[in-house]
Symmetry: C2
Subunit: 262 residues, 2 copies
């Protein structure tokens, strides 16, 4: 076996949403790196040495994990959800790309594998019904790593394309205004009856789901544990579920589409 | 236990990508409905009665499954990947919405639950590296249920927003031109060096991955078993992996963004 770094997704919270592949990887690893709350989920597994670190230390964490893997340990890098969606997989590849010549030599024998997980928007969509059953887009509303202007531009173009949208990190303590700005753009581009779903702590004991019309949406309905799903112009409710039809009735401009089934 | 219809995702192919939740549901169900190749995956489980049907019979399949669930059986509706992404969850809710008064009365006691799975684009992204590590969109290129014009419009707006893109159903026997048209739109909107990834039969023994520049992409590189992932303007390769950085360098117009890291 070559030295391995397995970049894993632990899903949104409930262990029943782990894949067998991830379970097997956890069972056979020696070390696990990750942000505190994700590493905490593996506490009590005596074969695993845990290396927790804080948010925004992703590159340092990746460097430490690669160094340990290069020593022949079988190392996990933990994300919640899916590691490829706004999570650690990109940070690991950024670290590999920025390697010094010494690091490059040290890390080149490490087999880096990404193993997928259930990402928050798909867990939330399942609990709601099927709001992402037609074309959609996925936007991280955090402006830590990109300008706020590109976020607004993407929401605007996504509304014009009539995509359903999933928003990650809608707001945080350091950025309470993030989601109000997104709501303003939606109010400019979409009809007031557009459905917006707030899914908080999905699959956890304190999960909450809330579905409102755009005209009733308020910024304080989302916090950092919330995934927000915005329907497209044809998304509607049937009983307690929200769904987007597979078929799409054409409109000359998506922004003027009428929700004739709403 | 009320009558149940569980709408499940079997993941892209490898049973190691099933969640424990889905395994438990399969173990305790009495009947499973689905498209032939998905139902085939459960052959040999003696406690399960299998009800396979053909493609494009989704609403009839959902009706039959709801009828059986209403009789008190514990019924599974199978999709590959995730049931909420271009799969059976929306079809089940469409069927519930269109219920006749008799059907409505018969089905109203049925507890319909959707259980998520690993969708093809996330399995493909994991095998490739992290091409969906920044904002992205997900488009079904099939024009069975929507006009070709809306597909082109969405690809064009997605390119202008500089989303990475995942394409499902890029072409089929009845629609060989579907993917050439998408390629033409990309060639108009994106730089020739843009990375395009073709992931076929992901997680199966005959999986193939191929990464090319847009200028080298040809329509025959995709078939109906392929998921296509188009990078954003900053997606690049490191070693054998493809990834999209978490951070985004601003450009006044995304379509004129220069890939200064390419």
């Amino acid at each position: 076996m070559p030295p391995q770094l397995l970049v894993l997704g632990l899903g949104p919270g409930d262990d029943a949403l782990l894949t067998q592949q991830v379970r097997d990887s956890i069972a056979s690893a020696s070390d696990a790196f990750g942000y505190f709350p994700y590493v905490e989920r593996l506490q009590g597994l005596e074969h695993l040495q845990l290396h927790a670190s804080d948010n925004r230390e992703e590159l340092e964490r990746a460097r430490n994990a690669l160094n340990l893997a290069a020593q022949g340990r079988k190392v996990l890098m933990l994300s919640s959800g899916d590691p490829g969606v706004f999570a650690m997989a990109s940070a690991v590849f950024e670290t590999l790309e920025q390697a010094s010549p010494e690091e490059h030599a040290r890390w080149q024998g490490v087999d880096v594998q990404v193993q997928p997980g259930i990402t928050a928007m798909l867990a939330a969509a399942a609990r709601l019904g099927a709001p992402l059953g037609h074309d959609f887009c996925t936007i991280n509303l955090s402006d830590n790593l990109k300008p706020a202007s590109i976020i607004e531009r993407r929401i605007r173009l996504a509304a014009q394309a009539d995509f359903a949208m999933a928003f990650y990190n809608p707001c945080s303590r350091s950025r309470p205004e993030g989601f109000s700005r997104a709501l303003q753009v939606l109010q400019q581009e979409c009809e007031p009856e557009r459905l917006i779903c707030f899914a908080r702590n999905v699959s956890r004991p304190d999960e909450t789901l809330r579905v409102v019309k755009l005209l009733d949406a308020r910024a304080d309905m989302a916090d950092m544990r919330t995934v927000v799903i915005v329907g497209n112009s044809q998304t509607r409710q049937v009983g307690k579920h929200v769904y987007t039809p597979r078929s799409y009735k054409a409109a000359s401009s998506a922004t003027s589409a009428v929700t004739d089934h709403a």
